[in-house]
Each structure stands twice: as structure tokens, then as C-alpha cells.
């Protein structure tokens, strides 16, 4: 049964991630990036990973460090090209990593569909563009749509602000971004939080990710990178 477990270390949190797994990684740039879980995943060493994330790593930390460690076979993301995405850039130009570019809203909605049991959906984004290639198009009520399929993860690694002991989560400001969506779309959702509090301490109306979506929680020392591209 899927009741969340509060684990004592990031190493315990990422245990069992297999070679070849699809891992959803939270964060928009550095905000919400689960740095400590990614570092544990680097120590853990799983290879041939498919990573789904908005970006393809910034600077040399977080996702960029995972790419640099050579553990990633493919990246699905919306925006890999940034001033500080030199790690991805090098791998990509050397032909050492695959890239699938997905419009940001489709990335989010396709993961939502995976979590919500939707088989596929018609979306107006990207109609008539090169990213429509190979997709089924349908006109509904005079507007054109493309058929989009769910993106499901084996694991999600996300950062949140607080968890209660049942696994309910809250987030801080725009660090929320992909976390709540990815939590619903993965078989096993692993969360790093700034603080674990007793059940009953989070206002039930303010819970953003209900405990049912959370499998493992680990409390870490808050570490936030303030400037994009800071080395």
C-alpha cells in the first residue's frame, strides 16, 4: 500500500532506482530543483536514465551534475537552451545524449493526464508547427488540435517546502512549478522537503499535494541557489 514513508537519508530515498528508469525531475531552472535527491542519485549510480524536466540543467549543479555524470540517455524537456546549460550543450553536440523537445504546457498536461487516467487529449498547442510532425490532428468546433499522450514516470524526484508525517505537501512560491504534477504521474514519488511536521500541522485547505501521491519523504538542510548560472 502506498502510504508515504519518512526516510532518514537521501540515499535511502533514492534506493532502488533501476538502470533505464524514466525519472521526472522537478524544478523550473533552479527553483524547486531537488538538489539533494539528485546528488544521492549520482552516488547511487543508476544509468541509462530518461529524464523528464522543464530544462536540461543549469550551471554545474542539480540536473546538470547528473548529466555530467553520464547517467542520462535521453532528456524530454521544453527548454534545454539557456546561457548556463553548458553541460547539456556539450553532451548534445557530441551526440552523447538524446533530446525530445516538448512544449512546456504539453509537458505539464501530458504528465497530468498520466496521473489522472486520461488516455490522450486533443490540444491546440503546436498545430501547424514542426512539433506537430507525426501527431494526429483533428478539427473540433472549427479549431484544430493535436492528439497528445500521457507521460508517465517510474520515479519522480521533487522538492517541496513542508511535508506532514502522512506525506501531505506544501510548496513555496514559484518553486511549486512541476512538483504537484509530477507527484501524480510517477509510480514512486520521492520528495525532499525543508521540514517534516506532525500530521495535523498543515492546514488541510492549504495542502497542495495530498499524501496519496507521495511515497518517500526526506528532510534536508535547505540549500537554494540564488543566481542562475552561478558556479
Amino acid at each position: 500500500m502506498s502510504r508515504a514513508e519518512i526516510v532518514g537519508s537521501t540515499d535511502a530515498a533514492v534506493s532502488g532506482i533501476e538502470d533505464g528508469a524514466t525519472v521526472l525531475v522537478g524544478g523550473f531552472g533552479l527553483a524547486g530543483m531537488p538538489f539533494d535527491l539528485i546528488e544521492a542519485l549520482i552516488r547511487q549510480g543508476a544509468k541509462d536514465l530518461t529524464i523528464v524536466s522543464n530544462n536540461a540543467g543549469n550551471g554545474d549543479v542539480g540536473l546538470a551534475a547528473l548529466l555530467a555524470a553520464g547517467q542520462v540517455r535521453k532528456v524530454l524537456c521544453s527548454f534545454p537552451r539557456q546561457a548556463d546549460s553548458w553541460v547539456f550543450d556539450g553532451l548534445y553536440r557530441a551526440g552523447r545524449i538524446e533530446l525530445e523537445v516538448v512544449p512546456q504546457g504539453n509537458l505539464a498536461e501530458r504528465m497530468r493526464a498520466a496521473g489522472a487516467g486520461i488516455g490522450a487529449f486533443y490540444c491546440p498547442t503546436a498545430v501547424g508547427t514542426p512539433l506537430a510532425e507525426g501527431k494526429e490532428e483533428r478539427e473540433i468546433d472549427g479549431r484544430k488540435y493535436l492528439l497528445e499522450y500521457p507521460i508517465k514516470g517510474d520515479y519522480a524526484l521533487i522538492g517541496a517546502h513542508r511535508a506532514d508525517t502522512l506525506g501531505n505537501l506544501t510548496y513555496r512560491k514559484t518553486a511549486r512549478n512541476f512538483g504537484p504534477v509530477m507527484a501524480t504521474a510517477a509510480t514512486t514519488t520521492i520528495v525532499q522537503v525543508d521540514e517534516v511536521v506532525e500530521a495535523g500541522k498543515l492546514a488541510p485547505e492549504a495542502v497542495v499535494t495530498p499524501s496519496i501521491y507521495v511515497d518517500r519523504v526526506v528532510q534536508v538542510q535547505t540549500r537554494r541557489y540564488t543566481v542562475q548560472g552561478a558556479r
Partner: protein
């Protein structure tokens, strides 16, 4: 009586020496729900199961009108018209509750995140088909509520019902004659005469109450997949 826990039942069916009341049956189901499970109890008889979950069972109740970790029925001053279960009965919250809107609630269900839901039924068929929303009588107002969503959503769908209609006909049938709620969705049927597991290979008696397994098998108009070994 069965031990609690979910391992598929193997070998001879357990038995109790009398036919169970619906309340006793609710207690049996409550004991079969593993600690930590996320469970939705349908309106009507299944609601009674909540009264038999021991305090600290760790079972988390979902109500489709938008809540996880629902507590017992509210009494007296605890009654809050803004806090009801799916049957519109005032209930309470437990520490670690979370509220969400209706689309999120059904996404949770449809996405396969609930471990178990328990529903009442008019009929269950050999192949797991469920009929519980409409008598099909022309003068009956059709009303489906969340039944069809629940039927296809939970990992395990249990049915709780009297085995026989008032006129003595079995409600476990070769083929449903009532309009269907879901196709092949039921995995277990709890009745006053016994419990049945429904699987790809057919129906197997799991427990009997006040009746021998052979005798119970004879009352049904369907072939059981595994002749019971003892009476």
C-alpha cells in the same frame, strides 16, 4: 476468518458458522483492508465499514466530493454543513486531512491511485462486470453519481451486497441483466453468505458464512473455477 492483508487466498475457503448481518460483513471488510491503504467507501452499506476501522488503522479514507483522511460521522456540535461525505452525511476530519476540488478528486480516482473502493451492487457477473447504478426500469430516474468513475478507478474494486435478492435470486450472475456500471472491474465480492474472489480465470470462493462451500456453489448459476475442497 481470514487474516487481514491482501495476499491472494490459496487453498480451502475459510468459514464462519452463521450467515452475516450487513454490519458483521462491514467488520469483515474492515479487517481485510490493509493498514495504510487509501480507500473509498461507496454510499449506502459500504459506509458502515468506516465504523469498524480501528483507531490508528492507518487506513486513509477518500471521499469523492474532495477529501482525503476523512474521519467518522459528525455528531452534535461537530456537525459542519461544509464537511460531508459523498452521501451528504456530515463527517469529521482526521489529522493530516487534505481537501481538493472535484476534478482533482476524480483524477485521483481515475488515475489508479486509490488502493480499494467498496461499492454496493445490484449484480456482479462472472467476469467482474458490475451493475449498481440503475434498475433500468422506465419509471426510475437514472442517477450514476461517481459509481462509474469508481468502478474503473481503484486498483481493487470490492462489492458489498446481500448474495440474494428479496425474491431469492442470486446477485452473482453469469451475465448482468441490469445496465452496467463497469466492465470486468470487480475483484472481490463480499456477501452475507460468503466472499468471492473474481479473477481472470473466474470466480473462487474465499470464505463461507453459515453454509458449506459446495452448497453455496450450488446456489449460484455460474461455474466456480476451483471446486472447494471441504464443506
Amino acid at each position: 476468518m481470514t487474516a487481514s492483508g491482501n495476499p491472494p487466498h490459496v487453498g480451502a475457503p475459510m468459514s464462519i458458522d452463521h450467515r452475516l448481518s450487513m454490519d458483521e460483513l462491514a467488520a469483515v471488510i474492515a479487517r481485510d483492508i490493509p493498514a495504510g491503504a487509501f480507500v473509498n467507501l461507496g454510499i449506502g452499506q459500504p459506509t458502515k465499514i468506516a465504523d469498524h476501522l480501528p483507531i490508528g488503522s492507518g487506513v486513509v479514507l477518500h471521499t469523492e466530493n474532495g477529501m482525503l483522511n476523512m474521519g467518522p460521522k459528525a455528531e452534535g456540535d461537530a456537525v459542519d454543513p461544509d464537511l460531508t461525505n459523498a452521501g451528504k452525511v456530515p463527517v469529521t476530519e482526521l489529522p493530516g486531512s487534505a481537501y481538493f476540488h472535484q476534478a482533482d478528486s476524480f483524477a485521483m480516482m481515475r488515475g489508479g491511485h486509490l488502493d480499494i473502493c467498496v461499492l454496493g451492487a445490484y449484480q456482479v457477473a462472472f467476469n467482474g462486470d458490475l451493475a449498481n447504478w440503475h434498475t433500468g426500469r422506465p419509471d426510475d430516474v437514472p442517477a450514476v453519481g461517481g459509481a462509474m468513475d469508481l468502478a474503473i478507478g481503484a486498483k481493487d474494486v470490492y462489492v458489498m451486497m446481500p448474495l440474494l435478492t428479496r425474491s431469492g435470486e442470486a446477485k452473482l450472475v453469469a451475465r448482468c441483466t441490469y445496465p452496467l456500471t463497469g466492465v470486468g472491474c470487480v475483484s472481490r465480492v463480499y456477501t452475507d453468505h460468503g466472499v468471492f474472489d473474481v479473477g481472470p480465470e473466474g470466480i473462487r470462493i474465499r470464505e463461507t458464512y453459515g453454509v458449506g462451500a459446495s452448497e453455496l456453489a450450488e446456489r449460484l448459476d455460474i461455474a466456480l473455477c476451483d471446486a472447494p475442497l471441504h464443506d
